[in-house]
């Protein structure tokens, strides 16, 4: 056991002599067991078993199933890459890809800045900060299915729907919301933003507390406006978090399922059919049990695309993130 230095500082660092290398003890199975290695492995076993059965095994099974034709009742048949070819030849795939990209774009446009703006505003609030935070976070704790059912009432396309009644008060509408291909996706994004913004905002709020107040004071001394402080101090200080939330948002929106599934079932006329909904439809839309091979093939393709996207994104932004 060594004694910790009682005084810390750069000056002392040069005065401390380098520690001599420890003599290496020979590691044998006996020393490994005596050192607690066996206990560690045994402690790990239950978790490994759970991960194996409920995470890794399904992934391996999905890979296997993607090259099979199976209804999970009769014996599967190996079909090579036929499922991948069938998925790529399905015209609905490209509709789903387009719709998913459109959802991602709208979500980025609407959903990405809102939590940031809300967090910045919230950080400036002096009174009732906790109350505002709780109110902003409230949608996150409402069960998603309940929230969607609630919003279905709001989105009622009739003149007596909640939103249409409000719009009617100012002489607008009625808007068909979910009942028209041109407005359905936008309606889904608005609800999804409402549901998720609170969670992201809390992350930004936490990150904002780490921004040194001296930076703002220095900016104020230089005569910076509020906008300049946000642009030159807040955003650069948050860039690490912004980077992560951006990737999480892209990955999340690429896997959007709940909203189109519960609101529109992919309609009207496939205008909200997303990639994950298509995967679901391959597997479950047919009550006889659908095309599990195609469903797993498309799932794997989506996973690979997202993994490659994440890798490239982190690679390209590494210097920015580190800076």
């Amino acid at each position: 056991m060594t004694t910790a230095p009682t005084v810390a500082g750069p000056a002392l660092a040069t005065a401390v002599a380098p520690r001599p290398p420890r003599p290496r003890r020979r590691r044998t199975p006996v020393t490994w067991v005596r050192g607690g290695g066996l206990g560690t492995v045994l402690f790990l076993l239950p978790m490994l078993a759970v991960f194996l059965v409920f995470s890794w095994l399904p992934i391996v099974q999905a890979v296997v199933m993607s090259v099979q034709e199976t209804n999970l009742v009769t014996a599967p048949v190996f079909v090579g890459l036929d499922n991948f070819r069938a998925v790529l030849a399905d015209p609905l795939l490209w509709t789903a890809v387009r719709n998913t990209l459109w959802f991602a774009f709208l979500a980025l446009l609407i959903g990405y800045p809102i939590p940031l703006v809300a967090a910045v505003l919230m950080s400036e609030v002096r009174r009732f900060k906790g109350l505002y935070s709780a109110l902003a976070y409230l949608p996150v704790v409402i069960p998603p299915v309940v929230a969607v059912l609630l919003w279905k009432f709001f989105y009622d396309a009739g003149p007596n729907g909640v939103f249409n009644t409000l719009l009617g008060g100012v002489g607008l509408g009625p808007v068909p919301w979910l009942q028209d291909a041109s407005t359905a996706m936008f309606s889904l994004v608005v609800q999804a933003t409402w549901a998720a913004a609170g969670g992201t905002m809390i992350i930004y709020l936490a990150a904002l507390t780490a921004v040194a107040p001296e930076l703002y004071e220095a900016a104020e001394l230089d005569g910076a406006s509020v906008w300049h402080k946000v642009w030159h101090v807040t955003l650069p200080q948050l860039r690490g978090v912004l980077l992560i939330t951006f990737v999480l948002q892209i990955v999340g929106t690429a896997q959007v399922f709940l909203e189109p599934f519960l609101f529109t079932g992919g309609g009207p006329a496939n205008s909200t059919t997303t990639i994950l909904l298509l995967i679901y439809d391959y597997a479950f839309a047919n009550s006889l049990g659908g095309d599990y091979g195609a469903a797993t093939a498309l799932s794997l393709m989506l996973a690979v695309v997202l993994a490659v996207f994440s890798a490239i994104y982190f690679r390209l932004t590494r210097s920015w993130s580190a800076g």
């Binding site: 607690g36 206990g39 045994l42 402690f43 076993l45 239950p46 078993a49 759970v50 059965v53 209804n71 999970l72 009742v73 009769t74 009622d156 396309a157 009739g158 729907g161 009625p174 068909p176 979910l178 009942q179 028209d180 291909a181 529109t264 079932g265 309609g267 009207p268 006329a269 496939n270 439809d281 597997a283 479950f284 839309a285 047919n286 009550s287 006889l288 049990g289 659908g290 599990y292």
Partner: protein
């Protein structure tokens, strides 16, 4: 430290053992109980009143006393598209379960249910099934794999209260599509509710489009030997879509929701937001039990048929099937149960009366319109047996019941039925949500896709 490590080791061993034991327990499923009896899992509807549960258990006791080597174990089950898929794939269906006619042929083709045709052939009434009805549960060579236990034809349901509010006579419902259109417009104008609504989602859009095409004299497929040809791009289908388009865009009589499926259209119909819609003729029970529809609001009439020799009503119903994983002993016991529980009430007075009494006592509908599984004489005889327990407003159903037997009943398409219905959903949705939808192009594309599906089979 040593004792802490020992305690940790013990905990690890205990947890590992528990996990292993749990996984082992999940993997086994015995078909014989400790007494050597054959265990058969059968279905009971979820959410029944205690009286209905007691009556079901009494029937189980009767069966077990007559079949001492069989142990009946009830499991809650109700067919729903998505949960059924998961149960089928996960192998967790009961040994005996029910499915709609729509799925019968597909399940048989994929061998996802047990082949009980040899056992069914031995039942005394095996040859007496209505041919059109039996086809839903039969393989291509005519053997019955799944037993038809109930049948219905599509009908036009209407809300009598909305009819009255709109100045229409609820005892004289529309008998042609022109009259449907005119009534829908009047309801929409005078009540502000949807005059006519249509299911469009979850494969029901295709189901209803094919239903209306049948009513116009069309079909969705033609079969020649082993070759199936899609017949979606036809004048009859186009006529249906043009009628819907006119009601939607010219008359504005179809309300504001164009993404209905079976459950949601029933909700809005029961809530008085829909004047008319087409669906199964036997829906009264679920409308009152699940959607709290007021009996006095309910009216039903036959689906108007075009003046065409091929025009008819799409038929549907329920099949009892046996789990593909069941052993031979379980299959034999399962068919005995199907015969005892589902079929005897259709052909023996004692079982018919007991079933009707139990159903009525538990507050469920008795006497809602249905079609005969066997011949009309057997059906009429059963109606007389249960007449004492009928609790539905029969008078309000006479526009349907007076004429339902005169309409030709046409089975659903038999090849890739669900998939074809599914690809027709967006066609109907497009017509109802896009004023400029190109009906010809939509039907042409849908037919090409349907043909690809049929060819793949």
């Amino acid at each position: 430290m040593r004792s802490l490590r020992s305690a940790g080791l013990l905990a690890v061993v205990a947890v590992t053992t528990a996990v292993a034991a749990t996984l082992t327990a999940c993997s086994g499923d015995s078909q014989d109980n400790a007494d050597g009896k054959t265990v058969v899992n059968v279905t009971i509807d979820p959410g029944l009143e205690q009286g209905a549960i007691d009556a079901f258990e009494a029937r189980v006791a009767q069966f077990e006393s007559a079949n001492s080597t069989i142990d009946i174990v009830p499991k809650e089950y109700k067919w729903e598209g998505t949960t059924f898929t998961a149960q089928l794939a996960g192998g967790t269906l009961p040994d005996v379960f029910t499915v709609p006619f729509t799925d019968g042929r597909g399940l048989i083709e994929r061998k996802q249910i047990a082949d009980i045709s040899g056992l069914v052939a031995g039942l005394p009434y095996a040859e007496k099934f209505n041919e059109n009805i039996a086809r839903a549960g039969s393989s291509d060579d005519g053997r019955i794999w799944a037993v038809p236990i109930a049948a219905y034809g599509q009908a036009l349901h209407y809300n009598r209260t909305l009819f009255t509010q709109a100045g229409l006579d609820p005892d004289d419902p529309p008998s042609s599509w022109d009259e449907v259109r005119s009534a829908a417009r009047q309801i929409a104008e005078r009540t502000g509710q949807a005059g006519y609504a249509q299911m469009t989602s979850g494969n029901t859009g295709g189901w209803m489009l094919v239903t209306l095409a049948y009513a116009m004299g069309g079909r969705a497929e033609s079969i020649d030997g082993d070759r199936a040809t899609s017949t979606i791009d036809t004048p009859e289908m186009a006529r249906v879509l043009q009628t819907l388009r006119t009601m939607r865009w010219d008359d504005n009589s179809m309300g504001a929701n164009f993404l209905y499926e079976w459950g949601t259209i029933n909700q809005d119909f029961a809530a008085g937001r829909i004047g008319m819609h087409a669906s199964g003729g036997g829906n009264y029970g679920s409308l009152t039990a699940q959607n709290a529809m007021k009996p006095e609001d309910y009216g039903v009439t036959v689906l108007p048929l075009a003046d065409d020799a091929d025009a008819g009503v799409l038929g549907g119903g329920t099949l009892a099937a046996v789990n593909a994983k069941a052993s031979d002993a379980v299959r034999a016991a399962a068919v005995k149960w199907i015969d005892f529980y589902y079929m005897s009430k259709l052909i023996t007075e004692e079982a018919a009366v007991l079933d009707a009494k139990t159903t009525a006592d538990s507050g469920q509908a008795v006497g809602a319109p249905e079609l005969p599984v066997f011949d009309k004489a057997t059906f009429d005889q059963r109606q007389r047996w249960i007449s004492e327990y009928v609790n539905v407003p029969l008078e309000q159903m006479t526009p349907y019941t007076d004429e339902m037997f005169d309409q030709p009943l046409i089975p659903e398409p038999t090849r890739s039925t669900q998939e074809v219905y599914g690809l027709l959903d967006p066609v109907v949705q497009a017509v109802l949500t896009d004023r400029d939808a190109d009906v010809s192009a939509l039907l042409r594309d849908a037919e090409a896709q349907a043909q690809a599906l049929l060819d793949r089979r």
